[in-house]
């Protein structure tokens, strides 16, 4: 299981990047090719990066509460670029009540605080073979 390309992104203005950097490193240690966008990415910038880097997975980290606005826009932006096969996952402070709506919008899985990094890695490996 190697060579899956994943973009770890911080959409919106949120500066909390501890989780994003930990998950990026965990994916890398698990054999993924990881690209990290850095902070303050608009949904468009995330989608452009996903296209340029030709990734199979986009992992969005968000703790600011703007997830209901920003995450569906990433999914739509990927579709608009012909990348509807890209797996979109998210993690951060996201209330359980918001998860069904995000899933309906095309976010495949949402990982909330306390989830081991291995759970996210296994989820992606289960959905994509490298």
């Amino acid at each position: 299981m190697s060579n899956i390309r994943i973009l770890v992104a911080k959409p919106g203005l949120d500066g909390h990047d501890r989780g994003a950097k930990v998950i990026a490193r965990a994916f890398r240690d698990a054999g993924f090719e990881v690209i990290y966008t850095g902070l303050r990415q608009t949904p468009d910038q995330v989608c452009e990066a996903a296209l340029q880097e030709d990734v199979q997975v986009v992992a969005l980290s968000i703790l600011s509460g703007a997830h209901n606005t920003l995450l569906p826009k990433v999914v739509e932006g990927l579709k608009a670029r012909g990348m509807s096969d890209v797996l979109v996952i998210a993690g951060g402070v996201i209330p359980e009540a918001d998860i069904p709506g995000l899933q309906a919008a095309g976010v495949a899985a949402v990982f909330t605080p306390g989830t081991p990094t291995s759970a996210a890695i296994e989820f992606v490996q289960g959905r994509i073979s490298g």
Partner: protein
Amino acid sequence: MSTDAKSRWERETLAPALAKSPERKAAFTTNSWIPADRLYTPTELPADYEFKLGFPGEYPFTRGIQPTMYRGRLWTMRQYAGFGSAEESNARYKFLLGQGQTGLSVAFDLPTQIGYDSDSPFAEGEVGKVGVAIDTLADMETLFDGIPLDKVSTSMTINAPATVLLAMYIAVGEKQGVPAKKLAGTVQNDILKEYAARGTYIYPPGPSMRLITDLFAYCAQAVPGWNTISISGYHIREAGSTAAQEVGFTLGNGIAYVEAAIKAGLPVDRFAPQLSFFFNAHNDVFEEVAKFRAARRLWARIMKERFGATNPKSWQLRFHTQTGGSTLTAQQPMNNVVRVALQAFSAVCGGTQSLHTNSMDEALALPSESSVQVALRTQQIIAYESGAAETVDPFGGSYYVEALTDQIEAGAQAYIEKIESMGGAVRAIEAGYLQREIQDAAYRYQREIESGERIIVGVNKFQVAEEPPANLLKVDPSLGVAQAAKIAAVKAQRDGQAVSTALAAIRTAALEGSNLMVPILAAVKAYATLQEICDVLRALWGEYEPGEAF
């Protein structure tokens, strides 16, 4: 006691006990991996009491900055709050003051913290989410409506646009008839930790440092009761650092600010008494108490010996503490009440000047009113029932805590020297050194949780099946639209020519090098928006471009 006596105990009593039942682990450490010995004894106590510990209210302030500490006055109970609109936040402040809170602490939303108005495309989805949305002086007037600014002190978590928000606060004071000389409070104004750990920077380091020293110079003369900066280890620790890194990196940043102000021509004793600090409190009570004591001792020596300050107020490290948000769990959130109590207890035993206690539901959403009340009650129980406020520095002389104080001081000193060797904090941050050290510690911590080496109750041990929590606070998603309408109304009513003139004066001051606080205050009073002011400086200075690594 001699070391021989301890050897005898180890031989005669300990060895047979260990032979019968070994200890739970091969090695024990503090929460931040400082080795913890089995037993500490009087040999750990400093040989020179007056040099290392001294007396409270006297150099080097290891035991506290005031002679009577909480016997004189309790710490300020200051809950960080703000969400949604200025009206909603104003109501929360009045609730908190009514519950016995003694100071305000304003949380701004991310667009405000990064200098965007609520109607900016960058603000989409973020308006009012992590704090209150402030676009113009009109919002600030609403935020403090009915709250007399000569009766409360207000801390504002604002960094890159600190000059603008302080100017708004001064303007609100004037409208209430409170002169700037009578205002009390704090602006965080600490850009270096934004680059290193928190992320709400706007401009590159050079001009950012100039804004900070302009604010120092202005307040030294016009707002003498104001803490002009809150040099923050809090976010460094939240991002994953150890306790020693928290102290070393924070004081390293502090040194950079002092040097910048001296370079800008300010005499050290003119601005240093207005510097303040902000630390975290995590779960290891002993390590945290030691950390606060070590930080005080180190800073006193830096200010006196390195910078030659002669005013004792310049030597005193005064600090705010917030309990550790990253230690809270989304699982079994009631357990967080206990974590917060331990953390707050350590802050009080460590001699904090003010304290925010987190609410149990903060790993899930913004805190609800009832959970904020429990958090505030936690402080009140520590103040009135725990006994921690009855004597000065209650852990002073603990063999263990004194040993840890020395170790954290030495560890922090080593980081300060490393930063110096790289050319100071600005260079070290630009080179990504602080960020790397913090990330390495964060990753190590996470791996320990996942391997089970580190137990987090309710997360990787003692789990239960849980229902999703109910009654979480939600911010109205239409707030962005409402704020945009408010901006439009202000723009329709204000004198457009006066705004243009005021903004041009900011540009001139930025170019000529005169103090920016003066034209920013004028622009705020003319109802220029936050973003209009920040955009003038963005156009001149550009924005910080971090090198991102993980």
